[in-house]
């Protein structure tokens, strides 16, 4: 692969990202602009932006890598990453929008009338966001290393710096445009090489042994629930993964905040339909890379499986065509790291800004500060922790690590949202207990995995895919503790329920919080 072509392509993506970001800067003035783009983004723009933000290193590189090594079972990653949006749509999207809360901690505070529950949620947003950012940085390091041979630190540092600059400069409004552009770039970058390969084959006599590789020696790989990649208890692992992905999406901080940018509930529904179509289309392609990789890049199965998407074009077409396609894929990969990292950074920075930084800045500067600056400092802080974590961790599987972030979200925010929206007798103590029990269990499993967990048997399955036991554990904790503490049911539950469940056309006072700060 020629480094020059790929570096140019990556450079172009970075320039475009910053360019559109700066264009956004001119119309981004108030804090409300920063957080939710003033709620004026149209469904089609918004759907492209949501998809652009959502398709991370895990989707672009990781899914193909996992399928390459472990075979057919990993296809559930594609399915799960998509259906999570349906769960989000039918179970929580509309009520949450009506709640008028800007962020998950806002929702927790208004529903449970507790600063303590709010703080737990703020901590979880930062934790889930960090766990999700970590594989993005690893992906960036891996990509630049594959393309140029540079050490992984370089790629990660490039992404970290650009994301912080872009978020601090433009906030959410510019990010909407950046991400909408990046969805289409990612789709093109992944789809075009596949089409070129397929067209090239039509002019040649044989599809060089690809199908043969799937039969014979490779047959086990193509079997569902085989243990081809060395993962035990595949049935448990598959169910656990599906649960995490189905119910985790609703608890991802960067996904939820996007739903607030719709002007009303109807637009939110339209947006979700388009998102499902866009994501479904995208996920058709990673498995194709994995299947081709079995034939053209079998050496990657042992190590570096996550680079199969980057390596494949150059291996099939040595020469200029391969260089150009490889450059396109590398550019798409960088778009993936930049867009997801930006969205996560906005979400984490929003929480750090509101819950940790602003009151302290206010005190230290005796009121003489600008709120937008607080957000900028928060953006910097929210990238520091994942970057340190990146420096401390060795290589990890991109899609697996993102899957763990989903598992933590499914074991914490899913019970909080689903029960909080639908169950009147949920108590504040129950909410806090559920968040803590689910959060500690799932985060511990995630941490063990990132550091290097058990290699086989039930320990590997239970720690590698924790959602199937941590999520029910969290639900049961909430229900049992709520039953034991009926006196801790929030006094305003009746009011919250009316606000959450009356359709938006009804003109009740939703207690819409003012944007945290208005610069006149």
């Amino acid at each position: 692969m020629s480094p020059a072509t790929s570096l140019t392509a990556i450079g172009l993506v970075i320039v475009a990202t910053i360019g559109i970001g700066l264009f956004g800067l001119r119309i981004s003035r108030t804090t409300s602009d920063f957080y939710v783009a003033s709620r004026v983004v149209t469904p089609r723009w918004n759907a492209s932006a949501i998809s652009g933000e959502y398709l991370s290193a895990a989707s672009f590189l990781g899914v193909a890598g996992l399928v390459l090594v472990n075979g057919a079972d990993m296809l559930w990653f594609s399915v799960g990453y998509t259906v999570g949006y349906l769960m989000l749509l039918v179970l929580v999207a509309a009520p949450l929008r009506r709640s008028g809360a800007y962020t998950l901690p806002d929702f927790a505070e208004t529903r449970f009338e507790s600063a303590f529950v709010r703080r737990i949620c703020a901590g979880l947003v930062v934790g889930i966001g960090t766990l999700y950012l970590l594989p993005q940085l690893h992906g960036a390091g891996l990509t630049l290393q594959t393309v140029t041979g540079a050490p992984p630190d370089v790629g990660a540092a490039v992404v970290a710096v650009i994301v912080v600059i872009n978020v601090a400069a433009g906030g959410m409004r510019s990010i909407t445009f950046v991400q909408a552009f990046q969805y289409w770039l990612k789709l093109t970058a992944l789809a075009l090489p596949v089409f070129v390969i397929l067209i090239a084959w039509r002019s040649v006599e044989h599809p060089v042994g690809v199908l043969e590789a799937l039969q014979g020696a490779g047959a086990e790989w193509a079997e569902p629930l085989s243990t081809a990649g060395g993962r035990d208890h595949p049935l448990y692992a598959t169910y656990s993964l599906l649960l995490a992905l189905c119910f985790g999406t609703m608890g991802l901080p960067h996904v939820l905040v996007r739903f607030y940018t719709n002007p009303d509930g109807r637009a939110a529904r339209r947006t979700t339909v388009v998102v499902l179509a866009l994501l479904g289309t995208f996920y058709l392609f990673p498995p194709v890379y994995a299947v081709l990789g079995r034939t053209f890049a079998p050496d990657l199965v042992g190590s570096g499986a996550d680079t199969v998407v980057l390596e494949l074009p150059g291996r099939i077409f040595p020469g200029t065509a391969g260089d150009l396609l490889g450059a396109l894929v590398a550019a798409g990969a960088f778009a993936a790291f930049l867009s997801t990292s930006s969205g996560l950074t906005v979400a984490i920075a929003g929480v750090i800004d509101q819950d940790l930084l602003r009151s302290r800045l206010h005190r230290w500067t005796s009121g003489d500060y600008v709120a937008v600056n607080s957000f900028r400092i928060a953006a910097l802080l929210s990238m520091c922790v994942p970057y340190l974590a990146f420096l401390l961790t060795g290589s990890l599987s991109l899609a697996d690590t993102v899957g763990l972030a989903f598992a933590v979200a499914a074991s914490t925010f899913c019970p909080l949202l689903v029960l909080g929206i639908w169950w009147r007798r949920m108590s504040t103590t129950g909410a806090a207990a559920g968040l803590i029990v689910g959060g500690v269990a799932a985060s511990a499993a995630a941490l063990v995995n990132v550091v290097g967990g058990p290699d086989d048997g039930w320990p590997q399955a239970l720690v590698g895919q924790p959602a199937a036991w941590t999520m029910p554990l969290a639900f049961i904790t909430v229900i049992v503790v709520s039953k034991l503490t009926p006196d801790k049911i929030p006094a305003g539950t009746a009011r919250s329920m009316v606000r959450l469940h009356t359709p938006e056309a009804v003109d009740v006072d939703r207690g819409l919080p003012q944007p945290p700060y208005r610069s006149s």
């Binding site: 349906l86 049935l235 009740v508």
Partner: protein, 114 residues
């Protein structure tokens, strides 16, 4: 509950409680629940069933229907189709039934204001 005592001097809070205890509001919530939860359950069962069939009935899943098309492929594509179908059904339902209910609720609440 504390808001029954507070509601005496707080007209706004009375409205909220009125809405909360009104049969229309219970009906609205029940209708939403009755649609959304079974739908979610059905959808999950259908996904989980596919995994089970692949594990324990590989013979059935790989039986050919014609040419290179077998049951597993058909069911797999069916999952895509059903995901979209459920989404479209939900959106239509929300647009028609739910928004219609919104008008009745509006009359209830805005009527109470006047």
């Amino acid at each position: 509950m504390s808001d029954t005592t507070r509601s005496a001097g707080d007209p706004e809070l009375t409205t909220y409680r009125d809405v909360q205890v009104s049969p229309d509001f219970s009906e609205l919530r029940r209708r939403f629940r009755r649609f959304v939860f079974p739908m979610t359950g059905l959808f999950l069962v259908w996904y989980f069933l596919y995994v089970l069939l692949a594990a324990y009935a590989p013979g059935f899943m790989s039986s050919r229907i014609g040419g290179n098309i077998n049951v597993a492929l058909l069911f797999g594509l069916g999952q895509f189709v059903s995901t979209f179908a459920i989404t479209m059904i939900y959106v239509r339902w929300a647009d028609r039934r739910f928004d219609a209910e919104a008008d009745r609720m509006r009359q209830l609440i805005e009527g109470a204001d006047r």
